[in-house]
Symmetry: C2
Subunit: 234 residues, 2 copies
DNA sequence: ATTGATATTATGTACATACATAATACGTCA
DNA sequence: TGACGTATTATGTATGTACATAATATCAAT
């Protein structure tokens, strides 16, 4: 058992993580208790506790009272994806952002939208279509529905100036969201908008947004598959 | 300022999060210091510290010494994606998993693979292609390269029995990975393998795996875009 | 044997306290 | 005015202590 000089929870974290990564402890193995680790690292149990707690949050170990701490069996991988605001994504690439409103009307929501947004059948909702361009090249086509019951202010908003996404982010900053990624072939409308061929590949992100169980918006974002990639960090 | 009865860091977390979500504190606002919160919640500063620290980790607030804690401007959204092992993904759907090895040869890696895996030009690597089926229907086509310098044991492994992914997960459980998602059109080989048409949409996950800066493997996983969706939790 | 009460144990949380550290504010000196 | 050192301040971390809680182990009663 190696002994470290300093006794910071960070150092202990990396120390333990190292032993996990280099196979000193294998998946499924039980690692020593907090008390005993504290002693061998020459620090208090609380410090070891924090190190182990964070390692558990990060998925390296699993902890159970009475049983102890064991190295995770690590069956699935967790990846964090950052889903930026289009404008920032484009500007970060050094390109000029432009936004174009295509459609903005209050209509009865179709069945699939009602289902996704938990709407009563026959209820009207705000339907918005718009296009985001990078250096005048179509970058993302957005097809959105907004629940007017929970976001009535959307009715009086001029979406030819602000994109609905940025408006909503400011209006409902801390809503919950679910994202779905998929690939599909471009239909005629989307192809026209993105200036690609019908039948080209699309990378599609669908996002549903809620605030305290109340559906706020549902949006389908289409990217030209040939040029778009989404990468995880870490 | 509402006063909670119990003084647990969890309760304080939800209390503060509530005030952020319902707009009592807006993005950019500074929230009271730990000391003052501790007093108003009737607990110690350490407890408030933990609540705020976790809120910061979760992205709701940003903290800086001396300046204090402020509500995040929340410009981009973070989503966590779970990338499961194919076999488990299929079995969790209640389908029967089958695996088929298509190709397994040690050859000179092409330029793009060398670049991705940081290999010397002209170096040999292990090239594996295989297919994962759910109830005998092709589900995922896998095209993988393994760095034999860092995983020499792969040379003597019989990949007709174990899939390379599962073998690697057991061999190198805590490696780092980078994932890239994209959409493309199926080429002839992939279409044949997945029993779809050439030109159909593919959802593609590319994963590069490292262990302490050493490239281990690089894999391209292709799913029929029409049937595959990947969804985030939380 | 099965059940149920009880002891044991490892982790989980809380607190008072102390010191560390980063960033800002401020006042002095040139 | 501007540069630089110092005080101030809010967060960051560490420790000893205490009690809470969940899960297992143990043992007695039926």
């Amino acid at each position: 058992m190696t002994k470290t000089r300093t006794a910071s929870f960070q150092a202990i974290k990396t120390e333990i993580l190292g032993k996990i990564k280099n196979g000193y402890w294998n998946p499924g193995d039980i690692i020593p208790g907090e008390e005993s680790l504290a002693e061998s690292y020459g620090c208090s149990r609380v410090t070891v506790n924090r190190a182990l707690r964070e390692l558990a949050e990060e998925g390296f170990v699993e902890r159970r009272r009475k049983s102890g701490t064991r190295v995770s069996l690590n069956t699935s991988r967790d990846a964090r994806v950052q889903i930026p605001i289009v404008r920032e994504e484009i500007e970060n690439k050094g390109a000029t952002y432009r936004y174009e409103l295509i459609l903005n009307e209050e209509v009865v929501a179709p069945t699939d939208v009602c289902r996704k947004m938990n709407l009563q059948k026959g209820v009207k909702a705000l339907h918005i279509k718009c296009l985001h361009l990078a250096d005048e090249v179509p970058y993302q086509f957005e097809d959105r529905w907004i629940n007017l019951d929970h976001v009535p202010a959307a009715r009086e908003t001029d979406f030819s100036e602000v994109s609905p996404n940025e408006w909503l982010v400011r209006k409902e900053p801390f809503s919950e969201a679910e994202h779905t990624f998929s690939a599909m072939l471009a239909d005629e409308e989307t192809a026209n908008m993105l200036e690609i061929e019908k039948g080209d590949a699309l990378f599609v992100v669908e996002r549903r947004t809620w605030r305290e169980k109340n559906s706020i918006t549902s949006v389908k974002l289409s990217f030209p598959g040939a040029s778009y990639k989404m990468t995880t960090r870490g």
